[in-house]
Amino acid sequence: MFNYVLRRLLLLPVVILGVTFLLFFLTQRLSPEMRASLYIKDPRQMGSLEEVIQKYGLRDNMFKQYGRWLGNALKGDLGYSQSANMPVAQAIKAYLPATIQLAVVTIVLVVFFGVWFGCVSAVKKDKWQDVLARVFSVGGFSLPIFVLGLLLLMLFYGKLGWFAPGGYSVYTDAVVHGGSFHSYTGFLLIDSLLNLNFRVFWDVLSHLVLPAVTLCIGSFALMVRVMRSSMLEELGKDYVRTARAKGLSPWQVTYKHAGKNAVIPVITLASIQFIRLLGGTVIVETIFEYPGIGRFGVIAAQQLDIAGIMGFSLMVAVLFVLGNLLSDILYTAVDPRIRLD
């Protein structure tokens, strides 16, 4: 087990090199002049274009430039993001916790409802509960996320006024960036509780609900499907018959026996979806003006902020490998055949 984790971690540098080199190669397709122009804020400074190219070595051999970027990255310097107006490392540190927060809340909702609906669907196969769960999940799956997001926004913000869109309230910003708020984890949802500031907690939570629900409805359909078919398969197996023959209650037979086996494929799916949420909640973060890393990534891409793009993709690559590792570790928790092998 320990060996396995170690081997996976050794893979991490390989993946990171591959991803970043590929992206670096793509950015090199832009002429040095174009890349240099990113450093220039005022048209009157265009004359100093050549100076910038010389200063940053933009005409050097591609591998030399990549090596330079990599060397800096190893030292923790990911460059300066023009689009966010701060160093890339600082931008990631500022935006990532909000996205992780959103992704965690979403995946908890997805797994909870997905497993629940999937189980009910399988146990009540072809009854009304099954039909309802299937219609609901396929409906959510078919609705584009931007349509769903806007609908929810119209209903809960526009008509009912329950939740707030846009950035956090002025009060929250003032408190968080004021001196007395102690940042323990970087996750506002947890920090606000630790600081016993429930007004901030409520504000953060109310900004989280709509994006999380939107993402959840969009991705739990697959979870329901996988859980349903996996559960149906398990319910037909011999050990379920044994469990019934022993006189166990239907609840024990379904959830303790079949459920524990059926949930194994769900772990893979959940971790894939979790990684996807971490790297790509771009649309939802944009619709709800949620201050997360996805929005940072999309703005960096729009403004050709090369340092920002590189930093963003580096982060996604790292998260991807770690997410996969996490799912493998979760597997061993559920399946003794893997744990003890």
Binding site: T242, G247, K256
Partner: protein
């Protein structure tokens, strides 16, 4: 055999499967009674309905199958009309089952001990600790060495024979009145088969339990059974005490089966077999299901189904016996 009151009384049991082509009757009126402390072997080839019969006793049939007619009387109650929750008190506690493939019949993600313990806890109101102690004792009893350590292991860490021992421990945990063993040795190595069979037989006679032993292996029957029921095409062909059946088989099908047992002493070039194939469920003929393969077939056999002729506890369903009866 007739003297003692039966523990289990099966009366005119009919089981049907609903398929896309319509309903297929797999058991067509099976009747027998199982006396206390005795072992009844139900013998039949693939497709004869023997496993369906085993599953129907505890109503564990797949959702497509249904008991359409008949009664299963156990302890004065008809199991076919009990509610699920009433039946649950019988399953595993009063009537328990051992299945064909022990490797797939145990849950792969729960420890062997946990599966044994939960069986006990489902029927007895005792503490988990006492249930565990009982479970370890049971594992020892079925011949599992180092039981306390094995208790915490998973089925994939056990061999097939060991898994079947666990299944036996589970089936006997609550000292049931009836044990149903559905081909308990078919999936095991030949060398293990005899051990497992001996174990079941020993535990059965120790506890004075009754047992229904389902098998396709006639040779195996002689060792364990008191009485044999030969099943063919969902019908009882012949039922007799084991020695009577081996010495004096009345039904041509039973005679064919016994003929095809190979003796070690005789050197034979051809393996004797019964010509033809067993009937496919659903392709019904009104007469005897064995008629198309029977070497002594009469015209009547195709038209009319023979009743079970009974002479001193030796029953056989064959028109050849009509005059004798």
């Amino acid at each position: 055999m007739i003297a003692s009151a039966p523990v289990l009384d099966v009366q005119d049991l009919h089981v049907s499967f609903s398929t896309e082509e319509g309903t297929v009757e797999v058991l067509k009126g099976l009747s027998y009674s199982l006396p206390k402390g005795k072992v009844l072997a139900v013998v039949g080839e693939s497709g004869s309905g023997k496993t369906v019969h085993a599953l129907s006793l505890l109503r564990l049939l797949p959702p497509t199958a249904r008991i359409t007619k008949g009664h299963i009387v156990f302890d004065g109650k008809d199991l076919t009309s009990l509610s699920e929750s009433q039946l649950r008190k019988v399953r595993g506690a009063r009537i328990s089952m051992i299945f064909q493939d022990p490797m797939t019949s145990l849950n792969p993600v729960l420890t062997v001990g946990e599966q044994l313990q939960e069986t006990i806890l489902a029927h007895r109101k005792i503490s988990k600790l006492r249930a565990k102690a009982l479970a370890v004792r049971l594992l020892k009893k079925v011949g599992i060495a180092d039981a306390a350590k094995r208790y915490n292991q998973y089925p994939f860490q056990f061999s097939g024979g060991m898994c079947q021992r666990v299944m036996i421990a589970m089936a006997l945990a609550l000292k049931p009145d009836v044990l149903i063993a559905d081909e308990p040795t078919t999936a095991l190595d030949v060398t293990i088969q005899a051990q497992i069979l001996r174990l079941i037989k020993d535990l059965q006679s120790q506890a004075g339990m009754s047992a229904v032993f389902i098998t396709h292996n006639l040779a195996l029957v002689a060792d364990v059974a008191d009485e044999v029921l030969v099943l063919y095409g969902g019908l009882c062909m012949e039922q007799a005490p084991v020695h009577t059946l081996f010495k004096n088989p009345l039904h041509p099908y039973t005679q064919g089966l016994l003929n095809s047992l190979v003796s070690i002493k005789k050197k034979e070039d051809f393996l004797p077999a019964i010509a033809g194939n067993p009937p496919v469920p659903g392709t019904e003929c009104p007469g005897c299901p064995f008629a198309p393969r029977c070497p002594r077939v009469l015209k009547k056999c195709f038209k009319e189904r023979p009743p079970l002729f009974n002479s001193k506890g030796h029953k056989a369903a064959c028109w050849l016996l009509e005059e004798k009866a």
